[in-house]
């Protein structure tokens, strides 16, 4: 009889949640630190206040756009309308201002419209579950198409809209923007405040906990009287609002409206969520993780640009980063470990 000693030490079935959280967060930090070191070694001027400012600025846009994606991922949904709402907001705001609306009023109108599109998206996605992906994509298309029809009415505008952007909006999100005299644009502060608030909300409010509950087990959540429909509608509304906000802030950044400005966010919002460690199947993760994912993604892009890689090469590298990330922690635990 052959007997062999089994002395393996693996953290199988249901290790402590703290440990898992640490795992995904420490992977994120290691990646970030690794990228920063690489950048410092390979790219002259990588570690400089200017570069830090530009990285944080770009991260802020991505971070704001990823708020909705994170919330959706937590219940197992994906919002693919984000890039279109960003693009739509980016051209609707200047054309409303050209039409004579004062900037603050125009911004509120855009924000409300973004929220409404999100709400429709959430309600319809929930009712037609299984088709949620194509639903959000379809509504995004419809919204951005409608905005372009509006902007081209009686004007030479279409996908590109020029309008004088007020100085304060420029200051909010331009490279050389100032936050109460400090040398960085206020949008970074806006992002930080939203991130902290959201992190707190997710852990300390009924809304936050019911989101995790729905993501973890729909039936068990229903037994507790949590309305899945409400949760879906609310998070998609938040996603719509945040996308509209991002679109408007990007106007201050670029100075002119362009409908395609949101396009990169289709991939990057999902990538930031996955790299951060939030499961696309729902129930685990959070916005803190996404913040890490956003930073990793932005620093990586900055590094690749600094190394002189072309845009296609950057795309290839960022795309490939997803593979190990999914392999490491975005998978669902094996069925035997769920038992």
């Amino acid at each position: 009889m052959i007997s062999t000693v089994l002395n393996t030490e693996i953290g199988a079935a249901g290790g402590s949640s703290a440990l898992r959280k640490h795992k995904s967060i420490s992977i994120g930090f290691c990646l970030l630190a690794g990228l920063l070191i690489l950048g410092a070694l390979l790219v002259p001027g990588f570690v400089s206040p200017q570069n830090a400012r530009s990285i944080l600025l770009l991260a802020a846009f991505l971070g704001l756009a990823s708020v909705g994606q994170t919330l959706c991922a937590l219940v197992g949904a994906l919002d693919l309308s984000i890039p279109y709402i960003i693009g739509g907001a980016n051209i609707l705001l200047p054309s409303l201002m050209v039409a004579g609306l004062p900037a603050p009023v125009a911004m509120i109108v855009v924000l409300v419209l973004g929220t409404l599109v999100g709400a429709c998206n959430g309600a319809l996605s929930f009712r037609l579950q299984g088709q949620a992906l194509i639903m959000s994509l379809g509504l995004g298309f419809a919204a951005v198409g409608a905005v372009q029809i509006y902007t081209s009415l009686g004007s030479q505008f279409g996908g590109t809209v020029f309008a004088p952007v007020p100085g304060w909006l420029r200051n909010l999100s331009a490279f050389n923007g100032k936050f109460f005299g400090l040398p960085f644009p206020p949008v970074i502060v806006i992002w930080a405040v939203i991130a902290v608030a959201l992190g707190w909300i997710m852990h300390n409010t009924w809304f936050g906990r019911s989101l995790y509950a729905v993501g973890g087990s729909r039936t068990a959540a229903a037994r507790l009287g949590i309305s899945e429909f409400k949760v879906w509608t609310v998070i998609h509304s938040v996603s719509g609002a945040m996308s509209a906000l991002t679109g408007m802030l990007l106007l201050g950044f670029s100075g002119g409206g362009f409908v395609g400005v949101g396009d990169p966010y289709l991939f990057t919002t999902v990538a930031a969520v996955v790299i951060g460690g939030t499961s696309l199947l729902g129930g685990a993760g959070g916005y803190g993780a996404t913040v890490l994912g956003v930073l990793v993604l932005t620093v990586l892009t900055s590094l690749l640009v600094g190394l002189g890689l072309s845009f296609p090469a950057q795309q290839a590298v960022v795309g490939l980063l997803i593979v190990p990330m999914v392999a490491i922690y975005a998978r669902s635990p094996h069925i035997r470990n769920q038992i």
């Binding site: 079935a13 949640s17 995790y212 229903a222 769920q338």
Partner: protein
Amino acid sequence: MGSEITVRMIDVAKAFGETRALKKCDFEARAGEVHAIVGENGSGKSTMAKIMSGVLHPDAGKVTILGEKVASPVDAKRVGLTTIFQEVLVADEASVFENLYVGRDGVFRSQSTGDRRTEAAEILARLVGKSVDLDQLAGSLPLSIKQWIVIARAILRKPQVLILDESSAALDLDSTLRLHAEIDRLRAEGATILIVTHRIAELVRIADRATILRDGITVGTLGKDEITEENLLSMMTPADRRASDATEYASRKKALEAPLILTATGLAAHRSARLFDFDLPKGSIVGVAGLDGQGQDAFIRALAGIIQPFGGEVKVRSVDTDKMVPLRSLDDAANLGVSYVSGDRKREGIFPQQSIFENLAIGVYRKKLGPLGVIRKPTLKPMFKREVDRLRIKIGSPSNRITSLSGGNQQKVLIGRAFANDPQVILLNDPARGVDLGTKRDLYRELRLFAEKGGSVIYLSSEIEEFIGFADRVDVFFGGTLFRSLTGEEIAEAPILAAMFGKARDASVDFDLERTA
């Protein structure tokens, strides 16, 4: 007999985070024997079974199955070991036939379908007691048949070692007898059958030997003649615990004369069923029994506000106004203090990615909300501690995932969730499914205490022995309606069984429980 040793475990230990599921486990089983593994919830039975099947790897110690080491479930099957797990793992979207042979075909070789169909039909007919259509979708079948599919799947592999992990938990009496016949057949062919169970009565009848686990340690192995209820209990439960449980509960007929707290009128489980009324006196424990699918499940769900009954009305006495208020939804149930505990903890109970604390506390968040839906967390810690102590839940750290607990302890957390709301009525839908005796006793004691303090309990169970000495009244369902209410001395095995089979009150029921040797 006395033949070769097929399974051997020496000094095996296994921990999940802080929870040490197995501390020191020594075990031996031979070919041609039925060997039982017994222990309370969280004593490590399931972990032991999973280590043998290669699902889990031990932290320390040696494991040999049929002379080989087993590193994965696939490995185990290659060696000749098959496990029937506690969970009913059936693909609902596939046919019965596909479910039976799932994972059996290699890429290039497969047995002829014709042979398989005959073999499958034969074995299912033997197990279920009637023929089953092999082309039906498994999802359309009741739980009890799904359970048979899982068992048949294992037997079709012709295992040399078969592990049954609480597999008879959802089977009724008749089915248990058929399962035993099947086990006898396998034993005669020289297979080793390991039964992981808490049903002591079953063990007395069928096991050749029994190994007892307590707190992750194998405390001993009993031979055929030593397997008695007393021996098993005394080895499973620590002595101090037995003493405290010794007090028998007095008959509480009075409870049934108290004012009603819940009434249901004109209910029916389905369209063609006879209408019935139901009432629940304050401070009483009413048991609900019935064979699989007689409407009792729909009934208790309707009381909880989960589903709408076909007509009729459920009313509950409001705490504030002392008037009977209709209960039509989950929200009504929550407002009226009606809590529901499901026995199907995996599907409608736990949140697998969340902590133990979160899983228990989430039931009360709604009552602890400040402005803007902010949860007042400081109040929750004492509540959590109270429930954990009260139900004697074995946990490591409260921040560990709920899935680090054994099945029985997960169930206790869910019962704690229901208790934490300070309900006036608690509805339990087969909560003790797959739960051992010690845990059940903890549960009965707590429900008794709850009832003595004025709480009311409706307790649905598939195991009738649970009601005896516990329920004040037992309502038996048959044919989609409340068939008979039993009280006092009628709460005994024979009258309950008779009612479950729809027999008249005086008809004698003769169930031969003894195995014909």
